[in-house]
């Protein structure tokens, strides 16, 4: 059912300052009926959901990136501006703007409301976090505020079950009015917005003060909880120590908690493979399914628990408000290498995957800073490297506790690998900022939001979205790569009476043998060289590729043992360490390179990235291999 005067469900947009609880409100309104896509031409995520209003009308809701102003200082904020102004070609002006304001911080939030009002669009103001405002003794006269602003004002509590009921009813009322106007041939008001000067901005603020004088009955007492927590978490020494311990804890958890679900997935995949082995006739198709598809996709899916745990921590830190504190604590240190404190968030996201990390760099306004952040993002250990690290650590690092039983050795090695990525990123950034990207540092101006308990529903929805993206990737790119690899490793088939393993005669074997002399100085045998070819598509494919290479080239008992067992018997420790060093730097990710191309709009930067990472990877692996050969006396 649609509203009178509307042929299609109306489109509403959510606009508001960052940290006003907009996403929580979006989740409360749409539940799990959300889909994420990209805006055409740009790579900013477009989050749309649907819901049914109390009167039974279908409504489309779009969550726009948070912004303090329509002046748009970053690509993210440009999307918000362009959507509300109707500048996107395939995206008409929204029918209604739902502006979300943090009721505990009206003074700052109302300024954006006044700016949005200039657009001349039908608007609703949602006074979010009213429960917090009440707790602080703030008394806001919604009716007076509504009269002052000339728009309906609805208190909401996004985190409470019935907290959006008033907003839903108001949407019905507003749509009835908008529909009636449209039905009578009325036209939307002309847009009166133009980029505000500092004089205009001061005017808005004075206007806000005048409105608050009428509508704010009692300013209340702001909560001291956040300040008390900050005295500890933002303490120059203690705060940094807590930040580092937190990161260390995350990595320990990634390993300790993921064990049980990993084993479960492993058992499931094994059972599936057995089923196919028993049920299917021998032949290329059976080999394709078991050795190509299941081995390929399976070896990546098995790391989903670890990746989810990492995403979970990022999500919780983001939702709680700690992320901005981390940027504050690291600003000076990162500034030492010429990075923006805000680069912390893209770089932290890059620990999950460089692709969203590079996209998140859009919040950095200065192009030079953005490029520097993009160039080092692939050095952050992304979750796609976790499978490779985990495999090699399981094969070569004994699982025992060190430092008096407090730290597990595999966890420690993992931490060192992460640290190696981070420190090389800092060095690269330092060099870049002193050579290519010289210039003044752009300012840091960042809100430190009040601490909040992360809401399980919002964390789950965020986690679900990340997991879906990861699985879609594993299911498409990696599936395709798995099939191509299987083909490369299986054809042409070995001639009758061949003595060596079949893969030796395949295309992959031929390529691997060609490249082997180049990679021999860093300790890579032809099996690794072969695996590196398909792993160009994505780093995690290296595990699948090694699995396929060894599954096809070994026979009998070797097939029964796990891949890590195979590696432990086939590789020397220096080779394993060398490969770990290679993976720390390796530019093996077509997705990353293509997203860099898209974000920088040129082939130059991805080419630079590929070249410098390849050189680093080769040099790093060479030094590691030679050094460990020397130290181990082999």
């Amino acid at each position: 059912m649609t509203f009178a005067g509307f042929a299609e469900p109306p489109r509403l947009v959510l606009v508001g300052n960052p940290n006003c609880g907009k996403t929580a409100l979006f989740n409360a309104l749409t539940g799990s009926r959300q889909k994420v896509a990209n805006y055409p031409g740009v790579t900013v995520e477009r989050k749309e959901g649907q819901f049914v209003s109390p009167l039974g009308h279908r409504v489309r809701l779009i969550d726009l990136p948070g912004t303090y102003s329509l002046r748009a200082r970053s690509p993210d904020e440009e999307v918000t501006r362009d959507v509300v102004l109707g500048r996107f070609v395939h995206e008409a002006r929204p029918d209604v703007i739902v502006c979300v304001a943090d009721a505990t911080n009206l003074r700052l939030n109302l300024r954006l409301v006044l700016e949005l009002r200039k657009l001349g669009q039908p608007m609703i103001l949602a006074l979010n976090m009213m429960d917090m405002a009440d707790k602080q003794g703030r008394s806001i006269d919604a009716a007076a505020l509504s009269a002052e602003l000339g728009m309906p004002v609805v208190p909401t509590v996004a985190i409470r079950r019935d907290g959006v009921a008033g907003l839903l009813e108001q949407i019905d009322r507003t749509m009835a009015v908008v529909g009636a106007v449209a039905g009578n041939g009325g036209r939307p008001a002309p847009c009166g917005w133009s980029e505000p000067t500092s004089h205009d901005l001061r005017g808005y603020h004075q206007n806000v003060e005048a409105i608050l004088a009428v509508a704010m009955r009692n300013a209340g007492r702001p909560s001291e909880v956040t300040h008390r927590i900050d005295h500890v978490l933002l303490h120059p020494a203690l705060g940094l120590a807590i930040l580092l311990s937190l990161l260390f804890l995350v990595f320990q958890a990634v390993f300790a908690w993921a064990e049980a679900p990993k084993n479960l997935i492993d058992a499931g995949l094994g059972a599936l493979k057995d089923l196919i082995v028993m049920g299917m006739a021998e032949g290329p198709l059976k080999s394709l399914i078991t050795d190509g598809v299941i081995a390929g996709v399976g070896s990546v899916v098995i790391f989903l628990p670890q990746i989810l745990i990492l995403f979970f921590f990022i999500q919780v830190l983001e939702d709680s408000g700690y992320m901005a504190r981390a940027a504050f604590l690291l600003d000076r240190l990162m500034g030492g290498v010429g990075l923006h404190g805000r680069a912390f968030i893209p770089l932290l996201s890059s620990f999950a995957c460089a692709v969203p990390g590079i996209m998140a760099s859009r919040t950095i306004e200065s192009r030079a800073d953005r490029l520097a952040t993009i160039m080092i993002a692939p050095l952050m250990t992304c979750s796609a490297r976790l499978p490779v690290y985990a495999l090699l650590i399981a094969a070569f690092v004994p699982d025992r506790m060190v430092a008096g039983g407090w730290i597990s050795l595999p966890g420690l090695v993992m931490f060192i690998l992460y640290a190696a990525g981070i420190s090389s990123a800092l060095i690269v950034a330092f060099v870049l900022k002193r050579t290519v990207f010289k210039g003044e540092r752009p300012p840091l101006l960042m809100e430190l939001p009040a601490y909040r308990w992360p809401r399980p529903r919002d964390v789950v929805l965020g986690l679900f979205e990340r997991a879906r993206t990861f699985l879609v990737r594993a299911g498409t790119i990696i599936f395709a790569i798995g099939v191509v690899l299987w083909f490369l490793a299986s054809f042409p088939v070995a001639p009758d009476g061949a003595t060596g393993p079949a893969i030796n005669y395949s295309l992959a074997g031929i390529f691997g043998h060609w490249l082997a002399p180049i990679l021999a100085p860093i300790g890579f045998g032809w099996q690794i060289t072969i695996a590196l070819i398909p792993a160009m598509a994505a780093r995690e494919v290296l595990v699948a590729a090694l699995g396929t290479v060894y599954a096809l080239s070994e026979t009998g008992d070797a097939l029964q043992t796990s891949l890590s067992g195979v590696l432990a018997t086939n590789w020397s420790l220096p080779t394993a360490l060398s490969l770990l060093a290679w993976v720390v730097f390796a530019p093996q990710c077509v997705s990353t390179l293509s997203v860099v191309k898209r974000e920088t709009n040129s082939w130059f930067w991805p080419a630079v990235m590929f070249t410098y990472l390849t050189i680093l990877a080769y040099a790093g692996a060479f030094v590691t291999y030679r050094l460990s050969l020397f130290l181990l006396g082999s």
Binding site: S198, P236, R332
Partner: protein, 106 residues
């Protein structure tokens, strides 16, 4: 842009007594409570176009009349600083805080 600059300067001239005791936000130590009386970004070396820093500061609530309390300092070099502006909290570097003129709150 230049018009903004002149109106801003005029505002400062109009309040000579305040101008005399004015200090820069960048000099604030922890716990100090001040009121913003103006923004003057002329001394701040910035990669931004002229007038842009002023607009960003205003958008974050650092506008004439705003009450500010210095809360936390970063490490090393006591930079950046976290300040409370009316009801919210922001972080900025001392370099940009230099653009904000403040007077001690009575």
């Amino acid at each position: 842009m230049s018009k903004d600059r002149s109106t801003n300067a005029a505002r400062l001239v109009r309040a000579p007594t305040q101008r005399l005791s004015a200090q820069r936000l960048s000099t604030l130590g922890r716990g100090e409570q001040v009121t913003v009386i103006g923004i003057d970004e002329t001394d701040v070396a910035s990669s931004l176009p002229p007038g842009e820093l002023e607009r960003r500061l205003i958008e974050m609530g650092l506008v004439e009349g705003a009450s500010v309390v210095a809360m936390h300092e970063g490490f090393p070099g006591r930079d950046p600083i976290a300040i409370r502006v009316n009801d919210h909290k922001i972080a900025l570097r001392r370099a940009e805080a230099h653009a904000v003129l403040v007077v001690p709150r009575a």
